[in-house]
């Protein structure tokens, strides 16, 4: 390697100054650039090679997978028979009670071709796009539970913000007790997922399961999200500090399921718009009252979409 001359040093210094200035400009004004297009280009460029790597990996593990899957198929067949009996009974009971039949979204399996985020993974890059029926806002799931939601989609690729993205909170409720809160990734002395906005008066126990809230406007209701790991008290003393571990193994997922169809309103109930009914005695309206009390389910609408 030739020795670096003084001229080369000056050129390198000039290049560094130019590059640093450009980086500062990008940091300040980068949000005005089509970052989605850049992300799409980066993912698109790497996707074919990633697919080949995945294919080689899947061939290498195919034999052990086949053995394991044969066992799982046998177990699932037995389970299917049991569930078929339960479905018949459920249908009969629902008819008896006059409940509407619940629809289900179509789940499309999609390959994870890339992961980004430091120090925790916060974005999955997916190997399918709008051509396969994906659209921004659709829920991303794994067999274990919720993974996140799509925030960018182009023709052949997409990106999903994970539960660990601090900018993508999820309205959740505790299964059984119905205690509602907002699941957020939070830094602090113990970085992790926390169910926030839960008053101390609401009882939440370690081991309780969380699912997406029926009032969520972004996610279908009832998707398993996580399990309560620790319950404490926030510094304010008014709210519970509830640490949650996600159901989905976010660091190990290679395929995810995207809920592509918009399910019917019984599976994904929407809150009805508040009708402005004027209270003649007080002179105000229920609508203004509703605006003054923020609903936890609205939080994911406000800041969940990037």
């Amino acid at each position: 390697m030739p020795a670096t001359s003084g001229l080369d040093d000056r050129r390198a210094a000039a290049a560094l100054v130019a590059v640093e200035l450009l980086c500062v400009l990008l940091l300040v004004f980068g949000n005005r650039l089509p970052v989605d297009a850049l992300t799409g280009a980066s993912t698109g460029l790497l996707a074919p090679a990633n697919s080949i790597l995945r294919w080689i990996e899947s061939v290498a593990t195919a034999r052990s997978d086949a053995t394991r899957l044969r066992g799982e198929v046998a177990t699932l067949r037995m389970e299917q028979g049991r569930l078929a009996d339960a479905a018949v009974e459920n249908e009969r009971l629902r008819a008896l009670l006059g409940f509407a039949e619940r629809g289900r979204p179509r789940l499309l399996p999609v390959q994870v071709v890339g992961v980004s985020g430091e120090p925790w993974p916060i974005v999955f890059h997916l190997g399918s796009g709008s051509g396969a029926g994906l659209a921004v806002g659709q829920a991303v799931l794994s067999p274990e539970g919720l993974v996140g939601r799509l925030t960018r989609v182009d023709g052949g690729t997409a990106s999903a913000a994970l539960l660990t993205d601090p900018n993508a909170p999820v309205a959740c409720e505790v299964v059984g007790s119905g205690v509602r809160g907002v699941l957020k990734f939070r830094f602090g002395s113990r970085p992790g997922l926390y169910l926030t906005a839960v008053p101390l008066t609401d009882t939440v126990r370690v081991g309780d399961r969380l699912a997406t809230a029926a009032t969520s406007v972004l996610y279908p209701a009832g998707i398993p999200v996580g399990r309560v790991l620790r319950v404490g008290r926030e510094e304010s003393g008014l709210l519970s500090e509830i640490e949650v571990t996600p159901m989905a193994p976010l660091s190990r997922l290679r395929e995810v399921l995207v809920a592509t169809d918009r399910p019917d309103s019984t599976w994904w109930p929407k809150p009805k718009p508040v009708v402005a009914v004027v209270d003649s005695a007080r002179g105000d309206s229920l609508a203004s009252l509703a605006r003054a009390r923020p609903d936890s389910a609205r939080v994911d609408t406000a800041s969940g979409v990037r």
Binding site: T4, V19, L27, L46, V113, P119, G188, S189, P191
Partner: protein
Amino acid sequence: MARGTFYLLLVWTTAGLLVRSSAERGMSIFGVAPDLLTLLVVYWALAGGPLAGVLAGFVVGLVADADRGRTLGLAAGVLSMIGYLVGGLGNSLHRERPPAQFVVLLVTTLLVQSVRTLFAAQGDLAAWATTFPVHVALKAVYTALLGPLFYLVVRAAGAPNFLGHGPSSAES
């Protein structure tokens, strides 16, 4: 920079970016993954000098920023600075020796990861301090061990000594 070295580093960079986006988690040990971006930039800078280091840092960092979809310019700025500093040091180091590479990688990864985690923690020093042992210190040690190991494997596979001093290195 010799043509052979340039192509070798280009292949190294492409492979590194691919591995980073697809299999970095698979390389993690007890949840600690190596910082492949810093590793790539350090070797570019050691082999090509400060100008190559700046340009490699900018390009690799920009790819990482675009991949992440936010704070465009952060990784590019930090890595190009690292490329410049390491490139400037390259001639006064026994850079072909793995211990020297270990020290350079350890220090640079500590710097890069400190900045990135500080940004990720939105400036919260207490939160940053809790992430430091695993996400900065252990990551730096892992990267510093991995770099010289790769270098030795590449050399053992018959690649030219692209970090050697003098005109005879990497002319193939």
